[in-house]
């Protein structure tokens, strides 16, 4: 069987090598695309924006990933760029909250984060999969170091209050028992000729052989406890060395109990393209990207600027803003072109003279509710007591997710868990609570999975994205209807104004959507500048 697998793999590699040798790299790329190996991102490297009249000006609204990507590339190409940002920091939703940070949400509740040094919560995005090439390239160019993000931890939990008396189950046990039982059933079907209309005799042989491997079935195609099964789901009495170390196989959970538990619902999360390995996280927190970007762009970012109007005419774009660093003084900035990355719930309230199609599109996209709660504990009990190193536990409790830190394993100090990460109705309910209530509720629920919570809790930080003064929601939610009716209009250049951001992408909520959206937007501005021979604009 293994020989056969290797043969198949080898022959495909040989084919690729042969194409590479005889027809050159482009044919190789084309062949790889056909075989499903390439075409993983629309990112094609840093854009070539040469040829604009020197000093052509662009005003960028928002210093998040989209805005700073646009500013960075435009500036490199010789454009004169200014960025206006509402917050007093760069990054937008790319953000890590650390000890000493202060955050006041809409409604006035202020949180002063008390995490220990080097501990953090990523209130927004927390992972970058290997095919998000735009984000990876940004990290490389900005000198942001990466480390693995653990998406699947076989020793983390799947938990359902209605299954196994509410006792959390190890992912490994559920995964392999579910797989083994499915394999056994399918083998039975094949043996009883139920599949004869579907598979040839030869294919049936291969199918049975593969089911035995895949599901760890015994010689009679049964999924039963034993050494081979314990080699996957672990042992009841562990293996070791010496006289005391003879192992005992673990028990298998019955097919009925596995199916009834619904815990299998937690398995496919990691099947999604954006969740497949390898996934990365920046060392020190996702916010390192925004911070590095902010340093790179330096003084061209004007912080604490609250945009109040956006007006374009034949010459350029004028933006009025309140300078919150200067007592709210009314100021203006102007440029020939404007890239607007302001989240749609806010942008929809700012007077802007664009066409009705864009105005309608901006108003058409609601923003999702989302919550993240970070809990600092006095010790890393999930590692010390439960051997959970990084990864994710899924539960049907409203807290939804427990994320374990994917760094500093076996650290002796405190640790910060992601105690709650949710969307939808449960997130709306959490939003309605005060930050302290959110933390207490997260502790109350999470203690059903980790009873150490009350004893070990130190302090917390609770982010409710609908209470975020700088986004008023977490991310744009598109449905097919809205996509068909509004997406092209939202992205289209309207005179001298173009939108960019995750909301203007097919990768909602992912930073890669912001990067590729920004590059697409400035590419189209550049095209217009080069073909029109732009005026330099009013000059910012």
């Amino acid at each position: 069987m293994n020989d056969q697998t290797d043969r198949v793999a080898t022959s495909r590699r040989d084919l690729l090598r042969m194409i590479g040798v005889t027809a050159g790299a482009s044919a190789m790329y084309q062949a790889m695309s056909t075989l499903g190996h390439a075409g993983e991102s629309t990112y094609a490297g840093p854009p070539d924006l040469q040829g604009a009249p020197p000093g052509t000006s662009v005003l960028v609204l928002g210093a998040g990933i989209a805005g700073m990507t646009a500013a960075y590339e435009l500036q490199k190409a010789g454009y004169k760029v200014q960025v206006l940002e509402f917050n007093n920091r760069a990054g937008g939703r790319n953000w890590s909250v650390r000890g000493g940070d202060s955050y006041t949400e809409l409604g006035g509740e202020r949180q002063d984060c008390q995490f220990d040094k080097d501990l953090y919560l990523n209130p927004g995005p927390w992972r970058i999969p290997y095919h998000h090439r735009g984000m990876l390239d940004l990290c490389r160019r900005l000198g942001v170091k990466l480390e693995p993000f653990v998406q699947v931890n076989h020793n983390a939990y799947l938990h359902n209050t209605e299954a196994f008396g509410g006792k959390p189950q190890r992912y490994r046990d559920v995964f392999f028992d579910y797989q083994g039982h499915v394999a056994e059933l399918l083998a039975k079907a094949a043996h009883t000729s139920a599949l004869d209309a579907e598979v040839s005799t030869e294919d049936k042989e291969w199918l049975l052989e593969s089911l035995r491997e895949w599901g760890t079935l015994d010689k009679d195609f049964r999924y039963v406890a034993g050494a081979h099964v314990s080699d996957r789901r672990g042992w009841k009495k562990a293996r070791g060395g010496g006289l005391s170390a003879r192992p005992t196989p673990s028990e298998v959970v019955s097919r009925h109990d596995i199916l009834k538990s619904r815990l299998w619902a937690g398995i496919p999360n990691s099947f999604e393209y954006d969740m497949q390995t390898t996934i990365f996280q920046p060392v020190g927190g996702m916010g390192r990207v925004g911070e590095a970007f902010g340093r790179e762009l330096g003084p061209i970012i004007k912080y604490q600027a609250k945009v109040t109007s956006i007006t374009q005419d034949a010459r350029g774009v004028t933006v009025m803003y309140d300078d919150l660093a200067d007592g709210g003084a009314k100021k203006q900035a102007a440029a020939a072109w404007c890239v607007v990355t302001i989240p749609l719930p806010i942008l929809g309230q700012i007077p802007m003279n664009v066409g009705p199609k864009l105005t309608t599109a901006i108003a058409a996209i609601p923003y999702a509710s989302s919550i993240k709660v970070g809990l600092q504990f006095k010790r890393r009990f999930w590692e010390e007591d439960e051997q959970i190193y990084g990864g994710i536990t899924y539960t049907n409790l409203p807290i939804g997710t427990i994320g374990y830190p994917n760094t500093d394993f076996q650290g002796r100090g405190k640790g910060v868990l992601l105690g709650c990460y949710i969307w939808g109705l449960a997130a709306m309910e959490f939003t309605s609570l005060t930050p302290e209530q959110r933390i207490q509720e997260t502790l109350r629920q999470g203690a059903r999975i980790h009873p150490q919570y009350p004893q070990e809790f130190d302090n917390g930080f609770a982010m409710a994205w609908h209470r975020s003064p700088f986004t008023m929601g977490c991310m744009g939610v598109w449905n097919d209807e809205a996509r068909a009716e509004h997406y092209d209009n939202l992205c289209a250049l309207d005179g001298r104004i173009v939108l960019a951001g995750e909301h203007a992408s097919f990768m909602g909520g992912w930073q890669e959507g912001s990067v590729t959206s920004a590059l697409d937007a400035i590419g189209r501005i550049h095209q217009r500048v080069v073909t029109q021979g732009s005026s330099k604009g009013a000059g910012a």
């Binding site: 509402f86 809409l106 409604g107 006035g108 609250k306 945009v307 302001i342 989240p343 749609l344 719930p345 806010i346 929809g348 309230q349 700012i350 309608t360 901006i362 108003a363 058409a364 996209i365 609601p366 923003y367 999702a368 509710s369 409203p398 969307w423 939808g424 109705l425 449960a426 709306m428 309910e429 939003t431 309605s432 609570l433 209530q437 509720e441 409710a464 609908h466 209470r467 975020s468 003064p469 700088f470 986004t471 008023m472 929601g473 939610v477 598109w478 449905n479 097919d480 209807e481």
Partner: protein
């Protein structure tokens, strides 16, 4: 995928505390567990880079149809609390749907609290007759 909100509320943490003192009506329960996330506990709204409109003393609240339509269809960044068509399972998980009865209850609550004192309650029947997401001629409210 229409989810009856009542079944999914996590026994409303806020609601639970309040219920200890007095029974909470459906409108109040929905307001305190969903709406006040943005419109705040006294209907006062909030302002950052943009604004969540206040419901207290807002002249637009005079129209029960306007408020019901806003809840049903959403408005700008505000999600629709009707049932949107064409959502993937993942998208559906990001939103919440209320029944016509629940929408009527919360509209009536908003229009009789926070200093609002309108005497013309809406009904589930009236809400049912308004355009719903995905219905013919419907579109998100401006």
């Amino acid at each position: 995928m229409r989810i009856a909100v009542a079944g999914m509320l996590m026994l409303g943490v806020v609601a639970r505390a309040a219920m200890a003192q007095s029974p909470m009506d459906e409108g109040e329960r929905l307001y305190t567990t969903i709406c006040q996330g943005c419109h705040m506990s006294k209907g006062e709204g909030a302002t950052g880079a943009g604004t969540y409109p206040k419901l207290a003393g807002n002249p637009l609240v005079a129209s029960r149809q306007y408020v019901a339509m806003t809840v049903l269809m959403g408005r700008k960044g505000m999600p629709s609390f009707g049932t949107l068509p064409g959502l993937s399972a993942q998208q559906a998980r990001m939103l919440a749907s209320l029944t016509d009865e629940q929408i009527a209850a919360v509209v009536n609550y908003v229009r009789t609290h926070f200093g609002n004192d309108y005497k013309d309650p809406t009904t589930a029947k009236e809400v049912a007759e308004l355009p719903h997401p995905g219905g013919k001629g419907s579109g998100r409210a401006g």
